[in-house]
């Protein structure tokens, strides 16, 4: 019984011994690898923001409303350049600006899409209403003409032509 426990105890001892050499606390990546990850994150945020702007544009957002977002994107890009030189504050600023642009672009896109749909619906409704009015006018033109003709006739004074000529 004692002999059968021996390998198990040896294994346990080895595990305990190896755990002494493991780093305490959370596992950290080296500075350079962490920086590379951050730069990748900055670039991904920039591209996501750029795609959001393009989608907003496709949804009908105007150039004027998107111009401030383009400026912010360029600002985020300049922060990215600084971040590539190892400045993590600039990286965070770039990510923050990019996320801000993404959110604004999505909002602008959905607003523009709704406005564009409303505009199209209104335009087609006006077109159909105009068609309805025009059809009525064309169809009833003869009746209207007769009605006004009758009114004109009723309003006119009856003069005896013979008397006038005689006079």
């Amino acid at each position: 019984m004692t002999y059968s426990r021996l390998p198990f105890l040896a294994l346990l001892f080895c595990l305990l011994l190896s755990s002494m050499f493991m780093p305490a606390g959370p596992i950290t990546v080296s500075g350079q690898a962490g920086q590379t990850d951050q730069i990748t994150q900055v670039k991904n945020s920039l591209l996501t923001a750029f795609k959001a702007v393009q989608i907003a544009e496709q949804d009908g957002a105007s150039n004027q409303s998107l111009a401030p977002l383009i400026n912010e994107l360029n600002q985020a890009l300049s922060y990215e350049m600084i971040a590539e030189q190892g400045n993590s504050t600039a990286a965070l600023q770039s990510i923050s600006l990019s996320n801000d642009v993404s959110m604004k672009a999505e909002a602008l896109g959905s607003q523009a899409e709704t406005a564009s749909q409303d505009h199209a619906i209104l335009a087609y409704l006006v077109a159909i209403a105009l068609a309805f009015c025009s059809a009525i006018v064309i169809l009833e033109a003869g009746r209207v003409r007769r009605f006004f003709g009758k009114r004109r006739l009723l309003k006119s004074k009856i003069e005896l032509g013979e008397t006038r000529h005689v006079a």
Binding site: L47, F50, K51, V53, Q54, E57, Q58, N63, L66, A67, I70, L73, N74, L77, H119, A120, A123, Y124, V126, A127, I128, L130, A131, F132, S134, A135, I136, I138, L139
Partner: protein, 201 residues
Amino acid sequence: MLHRLPVFLVLLVSLSAIYTSAAYYADSKAPAQPFMELGVYANSGLQGYIPNANFTITPPQTTNWTITVANMMNAAQFAMVIVRLGNLTTQSPNTTTPAALVPELIAIQLFLGTGETSKLDFSWTVQNVSQTANGVVFLNLLINGQQTGGQLQIGANEGRNFRLIFELWTFDPSTESFQYGFPGTASTIGEWLQVWFNTST
């Protein structure tokens, strides 16, 4: 009275078709051919910057130019201007291929809105030159305040006929990478410029 309803319906359908077509036409964007423009400008003009011209830079000399990029692509663009240094024998870019074998001095990235023209400062300094025994001159350049990696591998005989090549690249969201030129109707269209200069030793 019985005949009036079919006549009215025919009129209504016909007029609706005409008016809704007019509404669609009025609501649609006018067709336009998309393009991008790349330009290089200097306050003093660039007339002298041609092959075998007498324009000579005496180091250390700083030259301030402006690069313009215009976006008429009907969509926001992520553009990049790559500046390369070449000499008389350098293979020039064309409408399909960039001058990829020529060393890149600087790559300037920018976002452009639809219909926007951006101006980029391009300040370049020939700090000093070095000449080999057989008369080939190599440059030490500073662009927008940045060192371009010491003496460049491109040299020119007696310092004559160096050229700065400017290429326009655009970001392709489908491949998530920059492509040379801008997307045309069938394929990408390359856009490039070059400016020639000499240096005195």
